[in-house]
């Protein structure tokens, strides 16, 4: 059994995620939406921390909260006049969306309950996981080495940078 503190912590984070993600997709003001997204992302990072994946959490905060959300905000600033509301939704679209998301939720729920036996499990101790190890793994070529994907992502990022520049370049 886990410690009560962890559980309470988890519940709070989970609630935060749910509430803010609902808000993020339902709010009419796009800037608020971005802000809610920020909270969701932070909460996600919190979950990572709770899982003892500190590096992941850090990356999450740095890349998402620090990078992406800022990008969003800038994009919103560039494309929207302040105070503009989103247009009201057409009902068939809403129904379609509800059906799709409902079915998605149901599906995920079914899948998750297949693993319900893990519910009561407490976190087992993870081996010592340090940044050096992570770095080694990222750049090694043995069984648990991720050099190839790492390089692939590097190239991808490079491509994105070039692509982004080309696309956004003023003509």
């Amino acid at each position: 059994m886990e410690s009560l503190g962890n559980v309470i912590m988890y519940v709070i984070i989970a609630l935060t995620i749910i509430v803010f993600s609902v808000l993020a997709v339902t709010t009419k003001k796009i800037l608020r939406s971005a802000t809610y997204l920020l909270f969701v992302l932070l909460a996600t990072a919190a979950i990572y921390f709770q899982m003892d994946y500190e590096f992941l959490g850090a990356t999450q905060i740095a890349v998402y909260a620090g990078g992406i959300v800022v990008l969003f905000v800038f994009a919103i600033m560039l494309t929207h006049k302040p105070g503009e509301d989103a247009a009201p939704l057409t009902s068939h679209k809403r129904i379609l969306g509800l059906v799709a998301c409902g079915s998605g939720v149901v599906l995920c729920g079914v899948a998750l309950f297949g693993y319900a036996k893990f519910c009561g499990q407490s976190l087992t101790e993870m081996g010592d996981f340090t940044i050096d190890k992570l770095g080694e793994m990222l750049l090694s070529t043995d069984k648990f080495g991720y050099l190839l994907p790492f390089e692939a992502v590097s190239v991808l990022l490079l491509a994105c940078i070039i692509g982004g520049v080309v696309i956004a370049r003023k003509r």
């Binding site: 679209k93 969306g97 799709a100 998301c101 079915s103 998605g104 599906l107 079914v110």
Partner: protein
């Protein structure tokens, strides 16, 4: 002349047909006509030589005074199976075909000659389509000759079709005129309908006997019927023997060509063709094809009493019916046409009654009716051709078919008048003219079958005399002729007169041909003797008929009109040919066209086509419906994707659970 050269009798007209049809069109009209006549003359001489050799020469055709069936040419034309069931085209000579060669060639030659004059205007210039006319005549002559010399039933069918077509072409010679157009169509279709039955009959017969060949089927001279036929007689279909069915169907085929009731309706209309054509095809030759067919298969019919009875009844009824109608017709050609029907029915009946003497089959008396029928065929061809050619001369002179436009022509056209009178006397059966002898034999045969048949046919013979003289008087006497137009009617050029004279001469003497010695069903000579009581009675009846006609129609008087009003219903019915045409019209137009064809066409358009169009439309609209989904909206795609994924997962889950 060797008998093996018979094939040339056929070859010449066929060549003339091709020549006149293909080359003749480019030549002057007159020359083609002369060429046609010359060709036919050669053919006629040749045919006479053949017939003479056959009947009187020495050779394989006559063994111990019995005429044999000779096959002089045989060419495999179409083989259905490698060795059995083969259609051959060949030449079969036996008494009846030799006799028919003579009949056909004589009449055809007369008609060829006559047409030179008839098909020209009064200045002697040939009409438009002259070449075509002669080509068609040659084709017809060829087909008819081919028919009579057929070695097998299938060849006969082939030439049945051929004569049908040439008759179609000739009836429709004036194709610009609507009545001719309709008449030719009607003639072809009605005979075609009959030929359908003929074909079915052939198929049934050949199915059981495995042969088409007459000689194989019936043996030489009808002596030995092939086993397959006799064994098939035992098989029954719907209560009658299959061979009975087959022979009845074949008879229907013949009845169509021979205009037996109720398939006679085409013949009166066929008179729309040029008159010489009517003389050749619709009086002398083609219409007796049915009689010839039955005669050819006589040995088989003798074995099928049921079929014979049908023929007998149909023949006797047709004879009476046609005679009754002929009494009231005002169009002389139609009257003659009904007279033809009646006379052919005489021949049919005569053939049919001869089986009544079944007890004597192979014996002496068996073939009296057969012989009489052939005899009558021969004489009738001559005098009926004569009558038609006379009618043609009259029509040529007054430009009308209606006897109301004629009257009193005796003064203007004496030769025609006399020739016509000879024809009338011959058909009425007054001795010593040809009709007397042949008709007398027929009546004898009928009396031998039963007194009822004899009386009935005698009565019809009396009617014959009456209506023929009615026509005669109405044309040539009755009252003074009113001259229309500038030309008074007059006798015709020699090309038309000569045939009249020749045929009149034949009609006078043909009765003295010793037919019993020459043409019998088994080739053995048949002794005939005058049955004076029958002969006397029939002459008496004929005289009564003539007398009646004389009283009523010799001079203009109100008696006929009075009688007509007295029996108004009957008269009108007879004038309208007892409404047979209307009945047919009803059947073809109302039932076949409106009742079958139209609904089928509708069904085709609406139901079947509609079904396929529906398929097309459904596919089409389904595609349009699906096309909407391909809207380019990513959100839509995502939702479909999700739904699909969920469904897939659900199905997989369900399947896993089930297992």
């Amino acid at each position: 002349m060797p008998l093996s050269s018979t094939i040339y009798v056929l070859a010449i007209p066929f060549f003339m047909f091709l020549f006149l049809g293909l080359v003749g069109v480019k030549m002057p009209r007159k020359i083609t006509g002369v060429l046609g006549v010359l060709g036919m003359a050669v053919t006629t001489v040749w045919a006479y030589a053949i017939a003479f050799t056959y009947f009187f020469g020495d050779g394989p055709q006559k063994v111990n005074d019995v005429y044999q069936q000779l096959v002089t040419t045989d060419w495999t034309w179409l083989s259905f199976y490698a060795d059995k069931l083969v259609v051959k085209l060949g030449v079969l000579l036996d008494p009846i075909s030799a006799m028919m060669l003579v009949v056909i060639c004589t009449v055809s030659f007369m008609v060829h000659l006559y047409s030179l004059g008839y098909m020209s205007d009064h200045d002697g210039n040939p009409e438009k389509g002259f070449q075509r006319y002669y080509a068609d005549l040659a084709l017809f002559t060829f087909s008819m000759l081919g028919l009579v010399v057929s070695t097998n039933i299938f060849q006969m069918f082939i030439f049945f079709e051929m004569v049908g077509v040439s008759s179609y072409l000739l009836i429709g010679f004036y194709y610009g005129l609507q009545p001719a157009n309709h008449a030719s169509k009607k003639a072809f279709i009605v005979t075609r309908l009959a030929d359908l039955f003929f074909l079915i009959g052939i198929m049934i017969l050949s199915f059981y006997t495995k042969t088409f060949d007459f000689k194989e089927m019936m043996g030489a001279n009808g002596g030995t019927i092939c086993n397959a036929f006799t064994s098939a007689q035992g098989l029954t279909f719907m209560g009658c023997s299959v061979t009975g069915w087959a022979l009845t169907f074949i008879f229907i085929g013949g009845a169509g060509k021979s205009a037996m009731y109720p398939l006679h309706i085409w013949l009166p209309d066929a008179m729309e063709g040029p008159t010489p054509v009517s003389a050749l095809i619709h009086a002398a030759t083609m219409v007796v094809a049915g009689v010839f067919l039955v005669a050819r298969m006589f040995p088989l019919y003798v074995l099928e009493q049921g079929a014979m009875d049908i023929i007998c009844v149909v023949g006797a009824f047709t004879a009476f019916y046609a005679a009754a109608v002929a009494c009231t017709q005002s169009d002389i050609k139609r009257a003659l046409a009904f007279s033809t029907i009646s006379q052919i029915a005489f021949m049919m009946t005569s053939l049919a009654v001869s089986s009544a003497q079944g007890k004597l089959i192979g014996g002496h008396e068996a073939g009296l009716g057969y012989m009489a029928s052939m005899f009558h065929l021969f004489t009738h061809a001559m005098f009926k051709a004569l009558l038609f050619l006379c009618a043609g001369a009259i029509i040529h002179a007054v430009h009308s078919n209606e006897n109301s436009k004629m009257h009193g022509l005796h003064k203007y056209m004496p030769i025609t008048s006399i020739a016509f009178l000879i024809g009338c006397l011959a058909i009425a059966g007054i001795p010593p003219f040809a009709g007397f002898f042949s008709k007398d034999e027929i009546l004898v045969a009928c009396y031998e079958k039963g007194i009822g048949w004899g009386l009935w046919m005698s009565m019809v013979a009396g009617m014959t005399a009456f209506y023929m003289f009615r026509i005669y008087y109405l044309i040539f006497f009755w009252k003074k002729h009113e001259v229309h137009g500038e030309h008074a009617p007059k006798d015709q050029p020699w090309t038309m007169t000569l045939p009249l004279i020749i045929l009149a001469a034949i009609s006078v003497v043909a009765g003295f041909v010793p037919f019993g010695d020459l043409v019998t069903w088994n080739g053995k000579p048949l002794e005939t003797h005058m049955n004076w009581s029958v002969a006397g009675a029939s002459v008496g009846i004929a005289l009564i008929g003539i007398g009646l006609a004389t009283v009523m129609y010799r001079k203009e008087n109100p008696l006929p009109d009075k009688l007509a009003t007295m029996f108004k219903g009957l008269w009108t019915a007879s004038y309208k040919r007892f409404y047979m045409d209307e009945l047919y019209q009803f059947i073809t137009h109302k039932i076949i066209f409106q009742g079958i064809s139209k609904p089928i066409a509708w069904f085709d358009r609406i139901i079947i086509d509609g079904f396929f169009n529906l398929l097309g439309n459904v596919t089409n609209s389904a595609s349009f419906g699906i096309r909407k989904m391909q809207s380019g909206s990513v959100q839509g795609y995502v939702s479909y994707y999700i739904i699909g994924a969920v469904l897939l997962a659900a199905i997989t889950g369900a399947v896993i659970l089930c297992i």
